[in-house]
């Protein structure tokens, strides 16, 4: 165990932890903005209640995404100074743009949204949540463009041992990025859709079990039908985007990161018409070649043959990533991801029918299955990142810079150990606190609100003050 190993653990822990919260920020933010838009257009009270209910869950989670994101930005310089010096010219640019163009938008307008309920005209207030969620989604684009460059560096030349950017447009339109951005952003919408389904499923089940407790607040499962249908649509559409962009990513991986593809499939030797095995022992003939090239007879390179070629090309070293982790994370990602999307399509079919004419109720077993829509896509996303980043090893920048050469030379084992221990303890405690807080808010359900102001009424008129409308979003 040396500083390099601990630095890698720290990167993994921080990044995976950060990305537990980010998908909800990205997807749930848009969902809340959609609910508020529905309230704005219809004036119906239950949209407002749902906006506030999911809005509060969104904000509890948002805080964690922000604070762990700052660690992300610092850890490149702290733990990976050689990497930072090598790539800063190219990799730093999207990070700086992310802060300037996305984070300012997100944080400023979210502040306006949280505190602006009674101070802004309704239309302007609605615009603030949209501006904030545009900021969140834009930030995903920039950071994923930076990440894509590590897998497939473009638009640069190496001068005096440092990468120099020659074409920003090429970096921002890297095919790896344009496949990865929809993949990750859509996956975030699947996670958020699954979260909403789980929350709604819980309430539907509780109201059926104990109707008296909830009935005075709102009649039956009716209140939950809107968010359930909306989340099902969101999850289904996003799931289709995830699948298509994932297929594109696999084809790019065939060209750009053959070692990762081979490791993900456990393919040891170059094989024409390579089969795909969903689980070890079961093989679908020629499927891997078909998936990665559209040609069932194409040759897919294997890890051992690639190892020989890379040794010739880059010098002696082990160019194979951690095979079991890459192999299994690939399967967890696909199986759990597809299961969630399948659940969404099934749910859409089972709850079809127009609302007013005797709509089909959510069957209790389906509501129970919705509870799984919380962990499944989250695990799929974590597995996807493990595949993506562990599969890139031993490179930080594919073909240009090895991870072992990226670490900060002046930072000792003790320092990394202290900071890893501190952050891990802090992350653990905060994850527990966030879980408790979210569960409590989910259980207490949407609070009744004072009759909504007319959408066009000026603020402060009609007896609605900040305290009526927004009692718990304030400090």
């Amino acid at each position: 165990m040396d500083a390099l190993d601990l630095a890698r653990w720290q990167f993994g822990v921080t990044t995976v932890y950060h990305f537990l919260f980010v998908p909800l920020t990205i997807g749930l933010g848009v969902f809340v903005a959609g609910l508020q838009t529905a309230w704005h257009r219809t004036g119906k009270e239950h949209y407002l209640r749902l906006t506030k209910f999911f809005g509060k869950l969104f904000l509890i989670n948002f805080a964690m995404g922000v604070v762990t994101g700052i660690v992300q930005e610092f850890q490149f310089g702290m733990n990976w100074s050689e990497y930072s010096v090598f790539v800063g010219d190219v990799f730093g640019a999207p990070l700086a743009l992310e802060a300037l163009l996305a984070f300012f938008l997100e944080s400023t307008f979210l502040g306006l949204w949280i505190f602006g309920w009674d101070r802004l005209p309704k239309r302007v207030h609605l615009a603030t949540i949209w501006a904030a969620v545009i900021g969140s989604n834009l930030s995903a684009y920039f950071i994923l463009a930076a990440n894509a460059w590590m897998k497939h560096p473009v638009g640069y030349e190496v001068v005096d041992g440092r990468a120099r950017m020659t074409d920003l447009w090429a970096v921002l339109t890297n095919p790896t990025a344009t496949a990865q951005v929809p993949h990750v952003v859509a996956a975030s919408f699947v996670v958020a859709g699954g979260f909403v389904l789980a929350v709604c499923g819980y309430h539907v089940l509780r109201e059926r079990r104990d109707p008296d407790r909830t009935r005075p607040v709102r009649r039956g499962a009716d209140m939950w039908r809107t968010p359930i249908r909306a989340a099902l649509v969101m999850t289904a559409i996003a799931g289709a985007v995830v699948a298509v962009s994932g297929d594109t990513s696999a084809k790019l991986m065939y060209e750009q990161q053959p070692m990762k593809l081979a490791a993900a499939e456990g393919l040891r030797h170059d094989t024409a018409g390579a089969p795909f095995s969903p689980v070890p022992g079961v093989e679908i003939p020629m499927m891997l070649s078909l998936l990665s090239t559209n040609d069932p007879n194409a040759v897919v390179q294997g890890t051992e043959d690639l190892q020989k070629r890379f040794t010739q090309q880059f010098g002696p070293a082990d160019y194979r990533p951690n095979m079991p982790v890459v192999f299994w994370s690939f399967r967890v990602m696909i199986v759990f991801g597809l299961a969630t999307v399948g659940l969404a399509f099934l749910g859409l079919w089972l709850t079809r029918g127009r609302r007013k004419r005797n709509p089909r109720q959510v069957p209790s077993w389906l509501a129970r299955a919705f509870l799984l829509a919380l962990p499944l896509p989250t695990l799929a996303v974590v597995a996807g990142w493990l595949l993506s980043e562990i599969g890139r090893q031993p490179w930080t920048v594919q073909g240009e810079l090895l991870t072992a050469a990226s670490v900060s030379p002046g930072v000792g084992l003790g320092e990394v150990a202290v900071s890893l221990a501190l952050f891990t303890a802090l992350y653990g405690a905060l994850a527990l606190a966030e879980a408790v807080l979210i569960v409590r808010h989910v259980k207490s359900g949407p609070e009744p609100v004072a009759p909504a102001r007319r959408p066009d009424a000026p603020s402060g008129v009609g007896g609605n003050t900040a305290a009526d409308l927004q009692p718990t979003l304030m400090y």
Partner: protein, 313 residues
């Protein structure tokens, strides 16, 4: 002006903006327990920064991101050499951000107390450490780092107290003014020592002719702080806040002036800089975006310009 100089100025501007803006939210977070006697007052105090603290923190993210893009070797060298202090800064920013966001969403008074602790520690720690880190960067000396830390902690506290006085009414406003006076007993002497050390930090003998404008900045920063104290004493809170903000702005200017042209020992901006293509393209995008960013941030301050009253809990 050549691009490396311009980008050094941009980074100085971003850091200085961060000191001025997050300076007062650090002060507010640090002093919140001292400025409020009950839950209603606590909400009144924290409500002054509620809508804006997160946007203020993005100045840090942008400053560090700009360093990464424009001067990778400076970014990497500084962050890896101040490893443990920055670990603590990050830990502080984590518990502070979470405390501020969660405070209004927890159900029990004991959970709120945890949030308050996070806000206080998470404000005080970075406020001290940023001063210490930059003083160490400039002087390379532990005692100077300590003085720098005491300076930034006390000036942030003063700046925050003046901000609370400016943004509240009633008992909290009066208490904030008294607290500002009390904090100034530490802040003003610390400022005199820390700021007067800046102009001659990188030279063997103190010679004001070597860098006259650094002396002007340092002296003006000290004078602005003293003026801020006098103005808050007179109840001119708007002007007092302008004065404490000017102190931090001029202090930032002096700091980065002294760091030019070698932000790290043995590293000049020219050696640290990215290529002309990167700097050029970022210049165009930055110049196009910055007016909008500054505009909507200013607008958010305008929306929340009213003084806050203590509302019954």
């Amino acid at each position: 002006m050549e691009l490396t100089t311009f980008w050094f100025a941009v980074i100085a501007f971003l850091w200085t903006g961060y000191f001025v803006l997050e300076g007062f939210d650090f002060g507010v977070g640090l002093l919140a327990p001292a400025l409020s006697r009950n839950e209603a007052e606590r909400r009144q105090v924290l409500g002054t920064i509620g809508p804006v603290w997160d946007g203020n923190e993005v100045w840090l993210i942008t400053a560090v991101g700009a360093m990464f893009a424009a001067f990778p070797a400076w970014y990497a060298g500084m962050l890896s050499s101040f490893y443990l202090p920055l670990t603590l800064v990050l830990a502080g920013l984590i518990v502070r951000g979470v405390g501020l966001e969660w405070r209004g969403k927890v159900h029990h008074a004991s959970d709120r107390a945890w949030c308050d602790l996070g806000i206080m520690v998470g404000s005080g720690l970075p406020a001290f450490l940023w001063g210490a880190v930059f003083a160490d960067l400039l002087h390379g000396d532990a005692l100077a780092a300590l003085v720098g830390g005491v300076f930034s902690l006390s000036v942030c506290a003063l700046h925050g107290a003046v901000f609370v006085a400016l943004k509240t009414t009633g008992a909290v406003r009066a208490r904030a003014r008294r607290t500002a006076m009390a904090v100034s007993a530490v802040a003003v002497p610390a400022a005199v020592i820390a700021l007067s050390g800046i102009p001659s930090a990188r030279t063997a003998v103190a010679d004001w002719t070597a860098a006259p404008w650094l002396w002007v900045c340092a002296l003006a920063a000290t004078a602005a702080l003293a003026a801020g104290v006098a103005l808050v004493w007179r109840g001119r809170e708007g002007w007092a806040f302008t004065a404490t903000a000017s102190c931090l702005a001029l202090g930032g200017l002096a700091l980065f002036g002294a760091l030019w042209p070698a932000p790290m020992p043995n590293l000049t901006v020219t050696e640290a800089a990215s290529g002309p293509y990167t700097l050029g393209v970022l210049t165009w995008i930055g110049l196009a975006a910055l007016p909008f960013v500054l505009g909507y941030q200013a607008w958010s301050y305008w929306v929340f310009r009213r003084r806050l009253v203590a509302e019954p809990v």
